[in-house]
């Protein structure tokens, strides 16, 4: 009984902190995307999103002040980095390519192998990763607490000094605002038959039909949130086992998360190891049935697409899924 009462008090107090500090952020969900589920303990507020934006672009979150989240997830490069692999502090290179964070708010899992669930859970990972930003949480918290501008904002938003929990929540809140929808495909689907060129319409029909893409790239965000083996990188000496590393289920060997295809024209190179330079490469890879191996997904098989069909499919991906309202965000003034 007493516990319940104490909990009630916390809730009331929490609400008050929220009320006096901050206003709800007015999130515009672009057409074609479903409502966004926001965790109850991290509501979107205007000041929190702004704080998250600063943290996202701030290289001081890394050991040598050179790398920010935006170094690898750059708004001018489709919120990815345009390179095959990601380069962290001291020029260290990892083994996987940087996925876009566009619409990551809708992901059931984060990372190519799905080892994190929520954006909050994910955000502290790169800061502590020795080849990405290479800080401990104590270090980054102490470093940011010395920056008056951050201390003030954390107090306003969370009612505390800088904390690791607050960093994660603010960055996650900012990421939830990076959405892409309202693409020509969405307008076409909503009834505007002129929204897509004839080639893109042909490509769209292939995407949802003969080319079998929608078996996995399905729903408003073009992903089933599942994991599949296409055989990408399977012939490497020590192939990346992907989802298997998390689940230890034999059938998950070499399976990676199905990525969104929105804004795909901007995020080359492609696949978890950045091994495909162009969308045409990708489609040709699917057309030959991926890279056969004992764990190849059943939905990957030779497609018998003609050259014309391959071009049409690429046209659909480029034209149909690129939004005129691309979520461009400028780096903010960083606090001192």
């Amino acid at each position: 009984m007493r516990k319940v009462w104490a909990l009630g008090m916390c809730l009331v107090m929490g609400m008050q902190v929220g009320l006096w500090a901050d206003e709800p952020y007015k999130l515009q969900i672009p057409p074609g995307l479903p409502p966004l589920k926001v965790p109850q303990d991290n509501p979107l507020t205007a000041k929190k999103v702004e704080l998250g934006r600063q943290l996202y672009f701030d290289p001081r979150l890394s050991r040598d002040n050179t790398i920010s989240c935006a170094s690898c997830h750059d708004p001018t490069k489709g919120w990815s980095n345009g390179e095959r692999f990601a380069t962290g502090v001291r020029g260290q290179v990892g083994g996987r390519s940087a996925p876009t964070i566009i619409n990551a708010a809708y992901n059931r899992f984060q990372f190519w192998d799905g080892r994190a669930g929520s954006l909050e859970e994910q955000a502290l990972g790169p800061i502590q990763n020795p080849i990405e930003m290479d800080m401990t949480l104590e270090e980054v918290v102490a470093k940011l607490n010395k920056i008056e501008g951050y201390r003030r904002q954390f107090r306003e938003v969370f009612g505390t000094d800088v904390t690791a929990d607050g960093i994660a929540k603010a960055i996650a809140a900012f990421e939830r605002t990076i959405l892409s929808g309202g693409a020509p495909y969405d307008r076409y689907k909503a009834g505007d038959k002129n929204a897509l060129s004839p080639a893109a319409v042909r490509g769209m029909k292939l995407f949802f039909g003969k080319a079998n893409c929608a078996a996995c790239h399905s729903g408003p965000n073009f992903t089933d949130n599942g994991f599949h083996n296409l055989g990408v990188g399977w012939n490497n000496k020590d192939p990346d086992l992907g989802r298997y590393l998390v689940t230890k289920q034999e059938g998950d060997k070499g399976a990676f998360k199905t990525p969104t295809l929105r804004e795909i024209a901007r995020t080359a190179p492609y696949m978890h190891d950045g091994s495909h330079k162009t969308l045409e490469d990708v489609v040709r890879f699917y057309n030959k049935g991926g890279n056969p191996n004992p764990y190849l997904d059943e939905e990957i098989f030779p497609l018998d697409l003609t050259d014309q069909e391959i071009q049409d499919l690429v046209t659909f991906l480029k034209e149909g899924l690129s939004s005129p309202n691309y979520p461009m965000v400028k780096p903010p003034q960083l606090p001192k």
């Binding site: 059931r108 949802f208 039909g209 003969k210 079998n212 893409c213 929608a214 078996a215 996995c216 399905s218 729903g219 408003p220 089933d224 949130n225 599942g226 994991f227 083996n229 989802r243 689940t247 289920q249 034999e250 059938g251 998950d252 060997k253 399976a255 004992p294 764990y295 939905e299 098989f301």
Partner: protein, 375 residues
């Protein structure tokens, strides 16, 4: 036949009946402590009420990947897809002064391997009776585009098991076409409304087809594609569990991805138009079977939970329709990889489950169990 009966009886049924009471007690203790360990906040598993009247009993053990079950009208005989050995078995429940029996009745189905690890050897899958003696069997052993629906007159089965060649009718296959880019296969589960059989299939994952086979005067017509589920629900394919609601809707459990947790959908389709009328997200992993209690009309589901078998079991689904439809999910039993279920008219529920093999086991881990006391 005689020998086969004896082997299965002594290995399975008699053993099951003599030990099942013990087994059941052990199981009860285990599941009680399992339940205690579960965090109270676990989403689906409001734990079974302590005073639950629900009782389970192992009827047949040593089954290899049983994947389907149907109760014959009138006789109450229980037919089982012994999928791992590609055959159909018949269990006659014990009656006063009458021992139960188990017999292999149909064999010779083709075989396939499902999954990439774990892997399951499978043959025939879903079962349903369309008349007193006509048993429909959904195939699972043929490749996509070659799979068929068999019909057997079980009154013709005497001492010896019959072969699939003795099927009275065969419907299908559903080959590759404009509508299905690989053709359909794995006829998981069947539901029959007196006019047609509805079949969940697995082939074209961009569509997630439910097929339909009309039955006219006891004779099957052409097996055809009926509902493309995925374009309607958008995200989730893999329709597997299927049944008919008391008000005549097609109720479908869409299992989603086997390696994604809590992604199953419960969907209600209009049986005339095939239109999706209601879609509910569930906290279940892989809904593989659905059935309404014949008396209370309560809806039950089996969750196979491919990636986390300890989460699997029998669940009660309470659907509230109206302005804001909602779903309450209550765990009734923990079960190890359950695959199919069928109610007898008195409300006894039969469930097949695959189980988990342990080192040194003498028997295959599959079972047919009986559940009584459901509301």
């Amino acid at each position: 036949m005689r020998r086969c009966t004896r082997i299965l009886l002594s290995w399975a049924c008699l053993l099951a009946l003599t030990t099942s009471l013990q087994a059941q007690d052990q199981k009860k203790e285990k599941s009680a402590s399992e339940q205690q360990k579960k965090p109270a906040a676990a989403k689906p598993a409001e734990k079974p009420a302590a005073d639950s009247k629900v009782k389970t009993r192992d009827l047949v053990i040593n089954l290899y990947n049983p994947c389907g079950v149907a109760v014959q009208p009138d006789t109450g005989h229980v037919y089982i897809s012994g999928s791992g050995y590609q055959r159909i078995l018949r269990f006659t429940p014990p009656k006063e002064n009458q021992m139960p029996t188990i017999a292999e009745v149909i064999n010779g189905f083709p075989k396939d391997v499902y999954g990439k690890g774990p892997k399951y050897e499978i043959g025939p899958l879903g079962l349903v009776f369309v008349s007193k003696n006509l048993l429909a069997v959904g195939g699972g052993g043929n490749p996509d585009g070659k799979e068929v629906l068999w019909f057997f007159d079980v009154s013709q089965i005497k001492d010896q098991p019959i072969d699939t060649k003795a099927a009275k009718h065969v419907a299908g296959p559903i080959p590759k076409s404009e509508k299905t880019n690989r053709g359909e296969g794995n006829f998981y589960a069947l539901a029959y409304d007196g006019k047609a059989i509805y079949i969940t299939t697995n082939g074209d994952d961009t569509k997630g087809w439910i097929a339909r086979c009309p039955i006219n005067n006891g004779t099957p017509g052409k097996l055809e594609l009926f509902i493309a589920t995925k374009p309607q629900v958008e995200t989730t394919d893999a329709p597997v569990g299927i049944t008919l609601s008391p008000d005549g809707k097609l109720v479908v459990g869409q299992a989603g991805e086997i390696n994604v947790p809590e992604d199953s959908l419960l969907c209600f389709y209009n049986i005339q138009t095939g239109k999706l009328e209601l879609k509910l997200e569930t906290p279940l992993y892989d809904i593989v079977a659905l059935a309404y209690h014949p008396k209370s009309k309560t809806l039950y589901a089996l969750d196979f939970a491919w990636m986390a078998p300890d989460k699997g079991g029998l669940f009660r689904l309470d659907v509230t329709t109206g302005q804001q439809p909602s779903l309450k999910v209550t765990k009734v039993l923990s079960l190890d990889k359950p695959t199919a279920m069928a109610f007898a008219p008195d409300g006894t529920l039969y469930i097949t489950l695959i189980g988990t093999a342990k080192e040194g086991d003498k028997y295959k881990p599959g079972k047919l169990i009986e559940v009584t006391g459901l509301e």
